[in-house]
Amino acid sequence: MTYTVFARKYRPQTFEEVVGQEATVTTLRNAIAQGRVAHAYLFAGPRGVGKTSIARILAKCLNCQQGTTDSPCDKCDSCRCISEGRDLDVIEIDGASNRGIDEVRTLRENIKYLPSRSRHKVYIIDEAHMLTKEAFNALLKTLEEPPPHVKFFFATTAPNKLPETILSRCQRFDFKNISLEDIVNRLQQITKKEGIKADEEALRAIARYARGGLRDSQSLLDQLWAFSEGTVTVADVQGLLGAVPEEGVSALVERFIQKDAPGALKIVNETLKEGKDWATFIDQTLWYLRDLLVVSTCGYDQGLLENPWREAQLLKTQSQALSQETLMAMIQTLTEVKRKARDDFQQKVFLEMAVVKLAMMDFRPLSEVLSRLEELEKRASAIGYLQSAAGNQETKGGNPKAIRMATEVTNSPSAGETPAREKIQYSLPKDIGGVWTQVLERLHREKPSTWSYLKEGRLRQDGEQELVLEFPNDKPFRKKYLETNDQERAVVEECLAGVLGWRPRLKFALYERAAPGEATPKDALVEKKVVGATPDKGLAEKAVDLFNGQIQK
């Protein structure tokens, strides 16, 4: 009449059958072989990885009628009774149901009696984390120094809830989650024994949804097999869990990458309409994003992925399309949906909101933002310089165009003497005043007559390739002279080309001098610099004389 589920039917009965806990098994077998079995063990770890099973196997090892062994016969009366949980000397206690001090007191009273037929009296206390504080404390003395025939095995999923005083009296074994391959292998063994036909892909899917719990995977397989007619397929697994095919998830993420909110909404709505489980859907998307994050952080490494069978190329391209910041923000937003939604209506609306948000999400890496910020800072200071140095009069009326131009100018490398000709054809250094000073210096050396015409002039930028040479309005003839005299003009342009690296088109204009005959601050600056070229040199020479040294370049 009764049917035994796989999880119970295939509970490991010997150490050989235990999957994925090699370290624990080896240690325990050696302890048995060397006769060093401790009197108290603690088995801790997540659900469905074999804690209770190992506790029972160990009990069998100790009490097998064939003698203490690391491979119990599993045939004698003791072994069978232990397997069925009805042995007189192996007392399995449900710690969550018998958690009070009274139960522990009863245990202590019985502990002193010798085992009825076996060598040891074994107490397996399962779900030990649920014992009350008083119960634990009542156990302490007995646990530290029990009678020689008594062994204690604790099994728990939450070792952090056990008091330190208990932990320090036990040998502790931490059980690991079981790896995907181990689960798949075990499932294959079961399918072979039971004569179940199942796709390998289906078994992989089961193993993934089990998240490291072997019992979870066995329950799932059991359920699928109980229902399926022929072969167990991936579609069966997804149908049972209300999960979306992996392609659906990657398609959704692709919509996010393309910033296609309507498309993403469509996918979500179709998914929900098909009666898929929304929470599973969010989980799947979260795991997918997590895998993308892993790929973008550590590169493609199968061992680290939640689903190692995903299409590698797609993962790589998608992980490059999204910055890590974006991925993390996406994961956060989706997690919040799961946490906040109270019922189906909220689930639907919150999920849609999240999808719209995710499809608009594009966070730049922090380093990129910082460098852009620095760039902006530079530009801002360049504007400040332009406004103060290029003369207040010029931009007094507010010439936003000039400022904008100036900011663009800063894109070029700093105002070096020889800007890279090939790279930047038509860019002006930010320091136009500096350029002009250089030009004047050059002219002063090469053609002083032209210099004298230009020394009160100034340079202004107009458009991308044009420069305007301005003259004081009280000296209009100088402008006229250069305008009409092609030769002089060529000299100036040549000079400019020498400094800038490219030949600008030159225009001429007048500017208003604050008071005729009186130099504007800007003029004074230029004048001083140009004239100062010589005294500066003199200063250097004086210094050389003074210190009796020489100039080294």
Binding site: M1, D94, H129, W225, F227, G275, A279
Partner: protein
């Protein structure tokens, strides 16, 4: 027959029928799915199918299909009237919010006794997520290895609300939300509600501000998301009588004084219903509000189309969403969601609504200013 009573859960029904006929019925199942789609009902019907005396003969004589209850034999009627000694129904005790450890201990005591009349004992844990931590831990060992012939059925809305240690010991059966037509059929007894003639007599701008009978029916069905329980709640007199005024408020949100909206809403949710009732009614109104702005968001993002709650109001969305950016709409939705959350965290209801409507009004104004500023 009785699995027939379970509507639109063909997956679950055929699953269990298949499992029973193959003799592969496990000992612990989690039945999960949205509220009010028939999980508890299903648990009862499944028990009947297992206890029924005639099921064997029926399948051969061409009567009801195999592995279903006959509804007339003694055990079937006993289950229906809740008197069967081998069916144990565990739910939070009266006046309590959770299933306590005492209840589970009692359950365990019974599980180890032989069944009295049937060949097995069935334990139904309704809303198993309401078990306290102690209770669910207490259940673990029995749930994993119960005495032969025990069947546990745990119902819950989401597997995520159960402990993994519990889930790992059970097989999971998913229940889907009901299709809209089914809910409609259940509420109205299948009677279609066409648009009334009075509606089409109104000029369009009035029609867009009024809820016709058909529109309202649709809205409540859509909002219920396939849960019969929610659909009925939305059709209560207390909601339907104010819905037109509600829409009007939505239209004039910017010009109406926010505090007066709060006042009005609070009047719709009278004190007489008690604090819990008041909250639940307010929740309904906030849901309606959330749905409205959600529709605008969808309209803004992808234009009209199927899947909108307020399908009949699409023509008005164009003008309504003009001033609102997607970001603003998302922000508004977030505000409403936060206000809804506030209902459950014991916030002062008046302040909660004041805050919400002031914010909503400010969004409209802000965007208005910005537009003027730039044009």
């Amino acid at each position: 027959m009785s699995f027939r009573r379970v509507i639109s859960q063909t997956h679950a029904v055929s699953y269990f029928q298949g499992v029973i006929s193959r003799g592969r019925l496990g000992h612990a199942y989690v039945l999960y799915g949205p509220e009010g789609v028939g999980k508890a009902l299903f648990a009862r019907e499944l028990t009947k199918a297992l206890f029924c005396q005639t099921k064997g003969e029926a399948s051969t004589s061409g009567g009801p299909p195999a592995n279903d209850a006959c509804d007339v034999c003694n055990p079937c009627r006993k289950v229906d009237s809740g008197m069967h000694p081998d069916l144990h129904w565990v739910a939070p005790l009266e006046g309590k919010r959770s299933i306590g450890i005492e209840q589970i201990k009692e359950l365990e005591d019974r599980a180890y006794l032989k069944p009295l009349e049937a060949n097995r004992r069935v334990f139904v844990l309704e809303d198993a997520d309401k078990m306290t931590e102690e209770a669910s831990n207490c259940l673990l060992k029995t749930l994993e290895e119960p005495p032969p012939g025990t069947l546990f059925l745990l119902t819950t809305t989401s597997t995520h609300s159960l402990r993994r240690t519990i889930l790992s010991r059970c097989q999971m059966v998913r229940f889907q939300s009901l299709p809209t037509e089914v809910v409609r059929g259940l509420i109205d007894g299948g009677r279609p509600e066409g648009p009334s003639t009075a509606d089409s007599a109104h000029p369009p701008e009035v029609r867009l501000r009024r809820m016709s009978g058909a529109n309202l029916a649709d809205l409540s069905l859509q909002l219920s998301c396939g849960s019969l329980g929610r659909a009925t709640k939305l059709r209560e007199e207390r909601v339907t009588s104010h819905i037109d005024r509600f829409l009007e408020i939505l239209y004039e949100l910017k010009s109406v004084d926010s505090f007066s909206i709060t006042q009005e809403l609070m009047e719709w949710c009278p004190d007489t219903t008690g604090l819990e009732g008041r909250r639940s009614l307010l929740r309904t109104w906030l849901d309606l509000l959330l749905a409205y702005y959600r529709d605008m968001l969808l309209y803004k993002v992808r234009g009209g189309g199927p899947g909108l709650f307020y399908g009949g109001f699409v023509p008005s969305f164009e003008t309504r969403t003009r001033d609102l950016s997607v970001d603003t709409l998302l922000q508004i939705l977030e505000d409403i969601a936060n206000a809804t959350e506030g209902l459950y965290s014991n916030a002062n209801l008046n302040l909660l609504l004041d805050n919400l409507f002031l914010r909503l009004a400010s969004y409209g104004k802000l965007t208005g200013n910005r537009r003027r500023g730039f044009c």
